[in-house]
């Protein structure tokens, strides 16, 4: 069983998975490493690591700026894979999903990426700007190395497409809670609930919900119907705010992670 499946299988019945997102290399790779350990200590079941990209067009200002800082520091996909490898030396149970845009993977080469990602201990990949129609070759490379390819479902995704996604998705489904970018502020919990039951009609995988979840209260409300809650911008905000004060950064990120994780478990 893959590490991702294991994570979901091991959760006690009323517990939901907590999936924090941070951009790799934002405020330095060493800090990202320590943040990962802090997130695990505070309840992270899966960590989503953003692969820095110069043009993060689906992200709101908070995460877009975070990408920009990492890109300016010269952090690339190779560095992200090395970071995962470093993490794996001390942690073999928390699943790691890379989230990003296609071009860095395109330039790396699909087969080389799949091999190196698997070898580094990456469990899943989510490519924001790669719909399943274009994903055939990448999926084949990842399947060969048992790395899950995770797909997004949006409020605008039709039932017919959800059926199609069911045939290609693995790991879990990432439901984009709203029409908008990451960190947006107009989450409608009832609409999310309806969409989740729509997804469940066709797909058997665990469903995580992300975009616009900022605090424990919202996370709790969402988790009533979801299998996992994904939080990014609210954590990344602390990395920006305390870029020069590592202690404060780790403490703030850890506290928020703990509040959210406790609320859904």
């Amino acid at each position: 069983m893959s590490r991702l499946s294991q994570v979901f299988a091991n959760l006690p019945k009323e517990h939901k998975a907590f999936i924090p997102f941070i951009t790799a290399g934002d405020s330095g790779l060493d800090n990202t490493y320590e943040l990962m350990l802090t997130l695990v200590d505070n309840g992270a079941d899966v960590i989503e690591l953003g692969v820095p990209f110069s043009d993060p067009m689906a992200d709101g200002p908070m995460i877009a700026k975070s990408h920009q800082r990492s890109v300016e520091a010269g952090i690339g996909l190779k560095d992200v894979l090395a970071l995962v490898q470093r993490f794996r030396a001390v942690n073999n149970s928390t699943a790691i999903v890379l989230m990003g845009y296609l071009n860095p993977i395109e330039v790396y080469g699909y087969q080389a990426f799949a091999a190196d990602a698997s070898q580094s201990g990456v469990d899943g990949l989510l490519v924001v700007d790669m719909p399943p129609e274009e994903a055939h070759d990448l999926k084949q490379s990842l399947d060969a190395k048992e790395v899950d390819l995770i797909f997004l479902v949006a409020p605008t995704t039709t039932d017919e497409r959800i059926k199609f996604l069911a045939t290609v998705a693995s790991g879990f489904i990432y439901f984009v809670s709203l029409k908008g970018v990451t960190g947006a502020g107009h989450l409608d919990i009832d609409a999310v609930k309806q969409n989740l039951s729509r997804i469940r009609r066709y797909i058997d995988l665990p469903v995580g919900v992300g975009f616009g979840i900022k605090d424990a209260q919202t996370a709790k409300a969402i988790s009533d119907n979801a299998d996992a809650v994904i939080v990014g911008s609210a954590l990344v905000a602390f990395i920006e705010q305390y870029a020069d004060d590592k202690t404060k950064m780790l403490e703030s990120v850890g506290n928020l992670a703990n509040e959210i994780s406790s609320a859904i478990k």
């Binding site: 190779k78 395109e106 605008t156």
Partner: protein, 401 residues
């Protein structure tokens, strides 16, 4: 001989093109694709498009034999396709007229666009004003500063111009920001992309709307000179004016096709000194399609440079990438300095002030004409007029108003 009929149903020009986009956009892009398939051969839609091009834009534009310039060079005859004479001063409006007609049929009430030099923004604000639609134009902060005149024009037309301060603050970032707006306001908003980029069907649809340029030029050339021209020359940023001229001639293999990219300070000065992905870039995926890009070894997009705000886009339409790899078209590059020289030459010799973008095409045609004999004919797409660039040129030459 096989008739050229790319892209395929999924928007691919061989390995290039496609539809790479976030899931939220898939429904809107599918809706657009279906609408375009429904209307592109619809007689009523086409009649409205042609009526507007004739009575509102002022088409057809002349094909003008630049006799003075040709004589001065002593080589091939240069003919200028005068897209600068269109309403709003460039070819861009051919496309915005077509897309806004689709927006109207889809019942969208809000139009968004990205713009570099401001020509596409102006052309979008113009058609939105005419149909009474709300219009928001995203423009990089750097471009807002260097194209102040067009910013004011858009505002006069009732558009909201949003300066974009993320990334490199130019066209690519304006496109990112427009995408962010679109995913947020997907229900009532139509995104009018200004060039032959973006996810399928944009590259095909924009090409089709712009292909009026080549259709007219072909007929005008046959009437005025007879037969086919020997070469076509057009500047390539995203590549919409170029594909508009080229498309009608792709099957006419006797016609040489030249796309002219911006060499900026010089290709040899490295990727941040130019904006020539076809001449000096590599393959990647950006803004919805697979194409040639300016990118580094990590796959990060490199912000290039050109004197012309309309050419410094780090990608290029996927059909150009295909035409390059298939060998049907050749892509060359012209420096800032050569473009400026051509700007002055055409202004002085023919009394036509070309846009700095179009000046790149003129500059290459000047080189090419001198390699050919006087009985050869070159059609140059004079894609826009240079009024918007007067400040840029004056500043470079140290002139103050």
């Amino acid at each position: 001989m096989n008739h050229y009929n790319l892209p395929d149903d999924s928007g691919h020009f061989d390995q290039f093109g496609g539809a790479f986009m976030p899931e939220t956009l898939v429904a809107a892009v599918t809706e657009l694709k279906e609408a375009y398939e429904k209307y592109k051969d619809d007689p009523e839609f086409l009649a409205e498009f042609e009526y507007d091009l004739k009575h509102y834009v002022g088409r057809s534009t002349p094909l003008y034999h630049a006799k003075n310039l040709s004589k001065k060079l002593g080589g091939a005859q240069i003919h200028l396709k005068r897209e600068d004479l269109n309403h709003t001063g460039a070819h861009k409006i051919n496309n915005t007229i077509g897309q806004v007609l689709l927006a109207k049929r889809l019942g969208k009430t809000r139009i968004i666009a990205e713009t570099g030099a401001g020509q596409h923004g102006v052309a979008t604000a113009t058609v939105a004003a005419r149909l009474g639609l709300e219009c928001v134009v995203y423009m990089g902060e750097v471009d807002v500063a260097r194209q102040a005149l067009n910013v004011f024009r858009m505002k006069l037309l009732g558009a909201t111009v949003v300066p974009v301060s993320s990334g490199s603050k130019t066209l690519k970032d304006a496109l990112n920001e427009a995408m962010r707006d679109w995913v947020t306001n997907i229900d009532d908003t139509f995104y009018i992309i200004g060039t032959v980029a973006g996810p399928h069907p944009y590259p095909m649809m924009v090409r089709d709307f712009q292909s009026v340029i080549g259709k007219e030029a072909k007929k005008q050339f046959a009437d005025q000179v007879g037969g086919l021209p020997d070469a076509l020359v057009a500047c390539v940023g995203g590549g919409s004016n170029a594909i508009g001229l080229f498309h009608e001639f792709i099957d006419d293999t006797s016609v040489e096709i030249y796309g002219v990219e911006a060499a900026g300070y010089g290709l040899e000065k490295g990727p941040s000194a130019h904006a020539a992905p076809l001449c000096a870039g590599s393959v990647g995926v950006l803004h919805g399609n697979r194409t040639y890009l300016m990118e580094d070894e990590n796959g990060q997009i490199i912000e290039g440079h050109s004197i012309s705000a309309g050419l410094d886009y780090p990608g290029v339409g996927p059909e150009h990438a295909y035409l390059k790899d298939s060998g049907r078209a050749k892509y060359v590059a012209i420096t800032d300095e050569e473009a400026l020289d051509a700007f002055h030459t055409l202004t002085k010799v023919e009394g036509i002030l070309p846009a700095l973008e179009s000046s790149h095409a003129v500059a290459y045609a000047i080189k090419l004409a001198q390699e050919l004999t006087q009985d050869k004919h070159i059609i140059v797409n004079l894609s826009g007029r240079g009024d918007k660039d007067i400040h840029t040129v004056a500043e470079i030459e140290g002139i103050q108003f």
